[in-house]
Point group: C2
Chain length 193, copies 2
DNA sequence: GATATTCATTGAACAAGTTCAACTTGGAGA
DNA sequence: TCTCCAAGTTGAACTTGTTCAATGAATATC
């Protein structure tokens, strides 16, 4: 199936891995369709899955005590969906994950994942590398937040994620950047002139 | 040696592991003393080591284009020191790591670490868990940065890291919080009243 | 023990970003 | 096609945080 092929390519891009092992790994994932607007996770519930995005686009966000949504990141094809905090600590999730378009994901349950870890040491390596890359990404993001203005962060976003920039609303982009949507609008006007 | 015992406790707190394996792992680390003010890493150089802090305190910071230092985090006993970005991508480091006190660390070279990964699959698991926890920490940090004011972040820092708060200067704390040291001073005055 | 040097504090002027309210535009659904 | 609702824009007042400059307190160095 095509969805499995994407995941296989994703894994073998990360490291050397034998084809039969790839098959076994992919067999533990379930393909799911998610319609635009649907949630794959709501805060308060424990996150008992991890999912690989094959097609579509999601937003991962929190809601603060004033009721404002704050987007942590967007996930399009080739990204992962999960609340790793909730998943590893078996706690209530603080994250919400919602499809912004009709999407297709490959999902694996906590149980199946534990199984994979126990059966195949190579799976440990793959996720070790994946989390290592995630740490790098978060660290770079914090550095940008501490050294760049809102305008610079906006321009970086446009340049780094042109695909996402055209699919999501400006309100969502502003939320991701950590600014109000009114201010984003004013920033855009400046750059346009 | 006492330093090894700390690292052993750190590892076996994270997961089940046999004693002889712990010994083998620790044997790959070298104990080093670092004097106050000394750097274990300077930006521009590749980071070819990871280090576990046994005693003392460090700051991990970047320097932006205006020459301002921005502290990403502090590391006291039981924390790790590295530029994971530089380490995994074999690129020039953007981070600086400096001892704020006379300190003791256990350091492992890139080569020795690759060795460990190849000899012991369990080591993959340990670092997979470690990076997973790191992702959780960075994610929580971003959420706080996007939902809390400078005052709230300061109070959280005091409550979460009381040990660090008394060892480092207010300038460093301000830099960590992402605000000017003058503004931190004004915040402190408010809370004191 | 004297002297630099760095650190914390404070005030005033300024810049960056928010909030609220009003208005316009553009789709999605009936 | 019409309607309605959500998205984007703009302005004014406001809040949060910065910058620069001056001062006193605390540390390190010789």
């Amino acid at each position: 199936m095509m969805s499995d092929d994407l995941l296989k390519a994703h894994i073998s891009d990360t490291m050397e891995i034998a084809e039969p092992l790839l098959d076994s790994i992919c067999a533990s994932f379930d393909e799911m369709e998610v319609r635009k607007g649907e949630y794959v996770l709501r805060q308060g519930n424990p996150c008992r899955f991890e999912a690989y995005v094959c097609r579509g686009c999601f937003r991962i966000f929190v809601i603060d005590e004033k009721g404002n949504e704050k987007i942590l990141y967007f996930a399009e094809a080739d990204w992962w969906l999960m609340d790793i905090d909730s998943f590893m600590n078996r706690s209530a999730s603080v994250l919400n994950i919602q499809a912004l378009e009709d999407s297709v994901i490959l999902s694996i349950s906590q149980q199946e994942k534990d199984n994979l870890y126990q059966r195949f040491p190579t799976v440990e390596k793959f996720f070790r590398l994946m989390f290592q890359k995630a740490v790098v990404a978060w660290q770079r993001r914090l550095i940008r937040n501490h050294t760049q203005t809102a305008l610079e962060r906006y321009q970086y976003f446009l340049q780094k994620y042109p695909g996402i920039a055209v699919r999501v609303t400006d309100r969502h982009i502003a939320s991701y950047l950590g600014i109000s949507h009114e201010f984003l609008s004013k920033i855009k006007k400046k750059t346009a002139v």
